[in-house]
Amino acid sequence: MTEANRHPIHIHDDACIGCVHCLTACPTKAIRIKNGKARIISELCIDCGECIRYCPHDAIDSLTTSFSDLNAFKYKVAIPATVLYGQFDNATLPNEILFALRRIGFDCVYELSTICELNNAAIAKYIDSHPKPRPLIASTCPVVARLIQHRFPSLCDLIVPIEPPREIAAKILRANLPRVLKIAPTDIGIIHIPPCPAKMVSINFPVSMEKSYLDGAISIRDIFNPIFQALRQSQEDTIMCHLFPETIFSGIGMGTALSGGETRGLKNHRTVAVSGVRDTIRVLDQVELGLLKDVDLLECTVCPDGCVGGPLAVENRFLAKSRILRLVNQMGERTVVDSSDMSMLYHKDFLSFSHPIKPVPDLPLDDDRGRAILKAKRRNKLVKQLPSKDCGACGAPDCRTLADDIVRDQAALPDCPFMKEEK
């Protein structure tokens, strides 16, 4: 994957009929219909996956690591997102799901809820040791990080520079597995199992480190059926899981699959949790206007209700949320992470970003400010001329965006069918 086509979101031309559903669903107006097919403008796409959700023809999906890619590694490790525990019925214990992953070919499965709790504790420590600036923004959702880099570049300094749980977990494994197993580091493949395409991008093009500690990602959507089949065929595993619950889970960490999960543990701080991509943009706009200065931590997740609402999850988010909440309640508020362990890792900078997230501002109308002003004026005139129907027939999501494209020399006025008639 090169920088030019860094996005895992893929449009199947044979299935795409060039309708306008994805155009209007895209929160950054990154899609155009060209020659009857949807096309993604790479610089504008933030990998949120809204288009995948809204495409009525299943023409959009996400390229992730394939099962055959995994064969390149002698030792395969899975780090499933805690969202996975909400994808199966209430009778299926998290342990059984981890067992099933081993059955389908992973040599080791690393449970993430404990690391999520560790991450939460590290964020709390960071907030306490940095009284300014405010509000700090949690960076666990890679789409939020990208959104801030591009659309809210001045907010980059507010991002809490603590790596997300998936990277911390992989880093721990990288540091220990080669020694423990006595195998070459390159023979170990560490794969994340996320509910969204964005994690794939954060692995291929990390924003806060040189190279991700993960080797790839297989979406929950892609791995659901193999797990489901393995669960059906493994009666003995079920009994084993019930009688020997070997893995320690963290209720606090489990809750991070839901919106508010990162802020719930912060009892002594003022926190705000936002979910959904449009509401996230709205709140970040407010932060840029100087608001929310009395908030310690702003948690943004672009999927509705948090990661359980990921576009590549299988179960509907309401059921998944209910199951995760049930697990959270069962496991309780008990902490499983030793605070001195956390403190040690925190002070060794084991949990922090390698480098800050850099601003990558969206391109202005023109590099030259004088010309940008002329283009903006011309754009406003065009907006008045256009029919304001926002129908998408021209291939742009709305009239204003068509006008933008025209002044950027990427479209022409006759692209609008109403303009044609008038001629």
Binding site: P364, R369, I373
Partner: protein, 147 residues
Amino acid sequence: MNEENAYQQEFQVKGGDFTRAGEVSCEIKNLLKELGLSAPIVRRAAIAAYEAEMNIIMYAWQGRLDLSVTPDRVRIVVEDKGPGIQDVELALSEGYSTATPEMRELGFGAGMGLPNIKKNTDDFRIVSEVGRGTRLEMTFLGNGHKP
């Protein structure tokens, strides 16, 4: 570039319309980004515009923001029809506010509005007439062509 060639746009703000609070300043902010102004200017202008917009919503009956942008400066003139300010000097001091308890409940009225505008502008003028309204002139200076 002279004044006639500047980018100019007028934004209306209605007094008491809290549901649309911030929309105008947000639009100004996004516009300045599109015009390629540097991040610090966009930030300062956005914060000052927001404070001015909120002042209209909280205190005035009707008002408008007139934006004018040239390659090296941003100017926002804010005019409102409203009660005006009794003592401008006092209103410019931090912590002074005439906000009602309801406004304070909404998180406004910390007495930072005008001082915050002054802090974020390169040039700031204010004229107010009691019973008629207030006029603010805010200028933000650019720093060359490239942000």
